[in-house]
Amino acid sequence: MKRRDFLKSATALAAGTAISAPAIFSAAAQSRNETLLIVSESGPNNLDIHGVGTNVPGYEVSWNCYDRLISHEMKTGANGAPYYDRDKFKMELADDMKLGDMSATFKLKKNAKFQDGTPVTAKDVKWSLDRAVSVGGFPTFQMSAGSLTKPEQFVVVDDSTVRVDFARKDRLTIPDLAVIVPCVINSELVKKHATEKDPWGLEYTKQNTAGSGAYKVTGWTPGTEVVMERNDAWVGGKLPAIKKVIWRIVPSAGNRRALLERGDADISYDLPNKDFVELKSNPKLTIVSTPYSNGIQYIGMNVKQPPFDNPKVRQAVAYALPYQKIMDAVLFGLSKPMFGAPADFKTEVAWPQPHKYNTDIAKAKALMAEAGYPNGFETTISFDLGFAGVNEPICVLAQESLAQIGIKCSINKVPGANWRTELNKKTLPLYTNVFSGWLDYPEYFFIWCYHGKNSIFNTMSYQSKTMDAFIDGAVTAAAEGDKASYDKDVIGMVDTAYADMPRIPLFQPYVNVAMQKNVTGYQYWFHRRLDYRTFAKA
């Protein structure tokens, strides 16, 4: 097994966690400074983002172990920490990008090599992009969001030049090439492991990294740990400072916090909000909180079924939710409120933005009476158990609050594995959920969540001609660069959404990262996972 090989080679590097353990290890400590120990609740289930059912931790591996043609520049975010720049691209595998009217041409870096030493060629890039649009499932879907749907769109010009033809004008096409999915894979290596049943070699890449990225996985025990080591031949950017990344899975949140506080772990980013708030006062730790880009936690209602087919009922619910209580007791202030905008607030050309509803039981009761439910009704509120830490108290508070206007909810816990199935059925009457889009454009969010073509994320089954017109209009305007009508359409989208209120935004969650003071180089990315390449330890 690979892990053992790694472990053998790592014996010499072994270092002690001097602080807590009673001097168990005596090995040299200097390599400790080049090793990053990450602890998180769950680990990857697949090392390849093209794989079937790759989970979110798997994206992190892909991001760090594979290169894309292009990536984003950094800017300074609202909180002062580095934040990816949506609009500025930088070259990663590509040396240069020529943007034409209906195509983009990429020249590859000359000395780019895969981790096994073979050079990166245009053939590899085409094969990889072909793979992304062909394997089906999530990668193909993500590619199509940028109007990248057919292998014919990817053309090998010469050994080191690749052209991407646009299917139509779409301002999401180029950004879509900078997400995690269009990664470049060592096609020769993977093809060797491809079979008739598995033409894209998914089985191989599931367990092996075959990229040109800054790190390669040298040990992986699912559910336990991932060990990654630096690829010293990386050309995609400045050679990272961290030589080795050890990513340990520690399911108990309390233990993760303890590991951080005792200085045993370098970094962790999925702790309960409460812990982050409290850790902020710990002088040994740095905490960075950044709002999810283009993401919202909301209460959704199924508009196809009574009683939530009645907009008055939905508005009543919007007036009955205990927003501030949720902010205080559940999130400990670590989120951006999406409610209670002042009455004179003008809808902006931005997303997410707050709505004007606030907790007002009297108004809610009135609306219930108007809607013909003066005595309320009974329903079920569902949540994803995978995120019970936030979801459960939200539902409990909502349940309590809704009871005041006569809506009696019972709480339905859905195990993480079934959550998507349940959403897909589109029968849940009332639920809380998060949606966040990688591509940070309002229309991108609305296509997924409000458009009448009723995608999986339109969990409310909301269908409105007005809304569709605004969304389609915005997409076209964006592609054509028609700012005026784009602005008008976006404002129309938002206003319609907040008038009809099929889903009630609660807050924009924060990505919280806690790390030791000596760890530097954290950057916020649209995918919200860690980019090891910029980290360093003092």
Partner: protein, 337 residues
């Protein structure tokens, strides 16, 4: 003796068949649609159907079962959907972790509970007896995960005596060359004392957690059977023959009292394997219990089935060992069987 083992193996067959069927049905009854799960967040209905076909989940249940049994007969436990690895590989690599933890837990527990039980029986009705009873019962009354967290809090977070609860070894230590898969043994065999110390230090808290939990049944059983034996006629004869207390208690009473204790070990072990699942979760232990729990919560059939089958086989083997042990202690079984 051989015949006893043979007979025991025969009676095991229906049990194993039962386990296979129950497991299969149970896993298929799990809610959630693995196809939807694995098709990814933005999959269309067609994409989900495609995944379903790839996973073979579109076939009727009996057909899936036949296929499953056929694979099983070939020693193929299938692939985990979530990790993509063959379940056999996973189990083989994770079993030693669980086994090391559970066995050590059992050994520690017995090392404490058996003398405690004897003492309680010999001093029946004394304060020692009552203390034993209360302490052992208190141990079994705590949910294991609670005990585990409490121990971590006290011994790691507050006192700092124990290493960080992140698995079998410290993050920067490396596993010994695999011989048995038991780190304690492997590190000793390869002479790597550093690793031995690290592995031992990591084991202490989870082992103690398990031991606390299993103290009561063993102590209770030891006390009960010790009492029964101490009241027996042959102990009376031994005492009337002037044998000293040590001989009476150890040679005469204890060995006889161990018989029912040995029989209950199988049950205690099964009990511990269950508790193990929670302990592994608390201590981030890379064992098969935590693996199975994750799989179960993800409706990932193959690992759950593999896990349960492994456990069933383990249980059978353990009972066999207990039978043999029983035979070693009790000549009646050895000679008459």
């Amino acid at each position: 003796m051989l015949a006893t083992i043979g007979k025991r193996l025969l009676t095991v067959i229906p049990t194993l068949i039962g386990v296979v069927i129950v497991t299969f049905l149970l896993t298929r009854a799990l809610p959630g649609d693995p196809a939807a799960y694995f098709a990814g967040p933005a999959a269309t209905k067609e994409a989900i159907e495609q995944v379903r076909k790839n996973l073979g989940l579109d076939k009727p249940l009996p057909e899936q079962f036949v296929r499953y049994v056929r694979d099983l007969a070939r020693g193929d436990l299938g692939n985990s959907l979530s990790t993509g690895r063959p379940v056999t590989t996973e189990i083989v690599s994770r079993l030693p972790a669980s086994a090391e933890l559970t066995l050590l837990g059992l050994i520690v527990s017995m090392a404490i509970a058996v003398p405690l039980g004897i003492l309680a029986a010999v001093k029946q009705g004394s304060w020692i007896d009552h203390t034993c009873r209360v302490v052992a019962t208190a141990g079994v009354s705590l949910p294991v995960f609670f005990t585990g967290l409490l121990l971590v809090y006290v011994f790691y977070y507050i006192l700092g005596w124990s290493p960080s609860p992140i698995g079998r070894l410290d993050a920067f230590a490396s596993a010994p060359t695999q011989i048995t898969g038991f780190f304690l043994i492997d590190s000793l065999v390869t002479g790597n004392l550093e690793v031995f110390r690290s592995a031992l230090a990591q084991l202490i808290l989870p082992v103690v957690t398990l031991a606390i939990f299993s103290l009561a049944p063993i102590a209770r059983m030891t006390r009960a059977s010790m009492l029964a034996v101490l009241a027996s006629e042959f102990v009376r004869t031994a005492r009337a023959s002037g044998l000293d207390s040590r001989t009476v208690i150890i040679t005469y009473a204890f060995r006889n009292a161990m018989l029912p204790v040995v029989t209950t070990l199988g049950m205690v072990f099964s009990f511990l394997l269950g508790a193990n699942v929670l302990v592994e979760k608390v201590f981030a232990w890379p064992g098969i219990g935590s693996y199975a729990v994750e799989a179960l919560l993800q409706s990932d059939f193959a690992p759950v089935q593999g896990f349960v089958l492994t456990m069933a086989v383990l249980y059978v083997v353990l009972n066999l060992v207990i039978d043999i042990l029983y035979g070693v202690i009790d000549p009646r079984v050895r000679l008459e069987g």
